[in-house]
Symmetry: C2
Subunit: 256 residues, 2 copies
Amino acid sequence: MEFNKELKDHYLKGHKKYLRYLSVDCVIFGFHQNDLKVLLLKTKYDGRWALPGGFILKNEHIDTSAQRILKKRTGLDEIFLEQFHVFGDPDRSTKKINQQFLKNIGIKANESWMFERFITIGYYALVDFTKVTPSPDNISAACEWFSIYQLPEMILDHQHIFEEALQNLRMQLNFHPVGFNLLGKKFTMPELQKLYETILGKELDRRNFQRKMIATGILKRLKETKKGVAHKAPFYYKFDLRNYKKALKAGMHYFE
Amino acid sequence: MEFNKELKDHYLKGHKKYLRYLSVDCVIFGFHQNDLKVLLLKTKYDGRWALPGGFILKNEHIDTSAQRILKKRTGLDEIFLEQFHVFGDPDRSTKKINQQFLKNIGIKANESWMFERFITIGYYALVDFTKVTPSPDNISAACEWFSIYQLPEMILDHQHIFEEALQNLRMQLNFHPVGFNLLGKKFTMPELQKLYETILGKELDRRNFQRKMIATGILKRLKETKKGVAHKAPFYYKFDLRNYKKALKAGMHYFE
DNA sequence: TTTACATTGTGTCACTATAACGCAATGAAT
DNA sequence: ATTCATTGCGTTATAGTGACACAATGTAAA
């Protein structure tokens, strides 16, 4: 079995290629049908789900590791990516290994570097849902989107990592206009508002929202309106990349 | 030389005790004489200065590592401590080693785990300056406070780490009332204002500052006033730990 | 003892940002 | 032609912010 050979090698010799004790986990957010979603992998050995993750090459920048992992799972380059926390509890990596799974690929427990402690660096990514082609990795049976409000059971502390990521995203959303990374090229104001409401988990006033967004100066209203809606057609907007980057940097206003 | 033996062992066998490729660096802030200061160590082998740092024990929580390092350098327990960023550039750890220094302790270059790549987890700490007893470690000749406006030349990317820490502190200061950790039990309003001004690097209006601080609800005015000042004596304040913790959690106000 | 003076405590005022809400315009469906 | 959900723009009351005035305080100088 060529597949098992490859996997076995990874379990036994992976640390020659990667940094031991260190991993990267990515919370990949996408927005689709008025719902904020997260991309998850179904593990082969116990059927539960996991955040896309991986290891850091011996001579690789950690941000590059995260980009590499994202590229593999989504097919996308140049993703909005943000390091948000390091999870360093020595007990976060379980030592309870599925023995049968190990037997299947022909290794003994405690023989693999992968069942030692792992400190993981958490990143979150904001991607355009429509552009993503989810693809599972070696040790996964599936790669799918889940609504953040209906997450399946996850391995290790991945639920906790997700929650921390969401909290960071919410914080960031209030001080930098990062939400746009989740949308396509053009979008209507109600769509943008739904996005914000979904991320923040609460409803916002339609009219105040519009005013604030316009006030950021990063939106450009197009002449085109949305077609085929059974009511007044909303305008499309796109965002001004130049002003966007300015707004990103300016972001918060410190005290006076 | 018993000292060299110990140091040599650390260089050669340290990775048996600690996680390889991983370190913790701490930016320890203190406030003294209207000046924000950082605690630095003077390296023995090239005389430049470094942030207090260390390694992570194989079975230790990373936050505990940081606490342990802080305890050793400052003598303090239960310090306000915040993880703020991971520095993961593969080129951040220099491979240019002082050969003479290595000879002195009797090891060859490339023989030590310590000259490989290190990914470092940055923490910043806020301490009561008056309670700290700075003490250098094995490989350091001195441990001293420096004004953040007059920092000496530092090794590796420690200047960069410091700047990132300061930026994070400023951000945090605006949304959580963390500054108090830098002061003693009681303080006057002008003292608190100076602290804020020093951290933020700008002057604030005295009267508006007072209004805002009172409004946080975490201050308690004492009946005692400061003695021996050649003008109207300011009141002392202390802070209400209960309300403080509430304010820490509440912190930022999300959108509406 | 009186006066000077730097600094503190409290208050005011104009301006802005924000939340809450009104209303006419739109355009497909009836 | 009418209905109606939804959009775009506007109004108002309120709270927060920055800028500044002035009296009170307490040591030091006269």
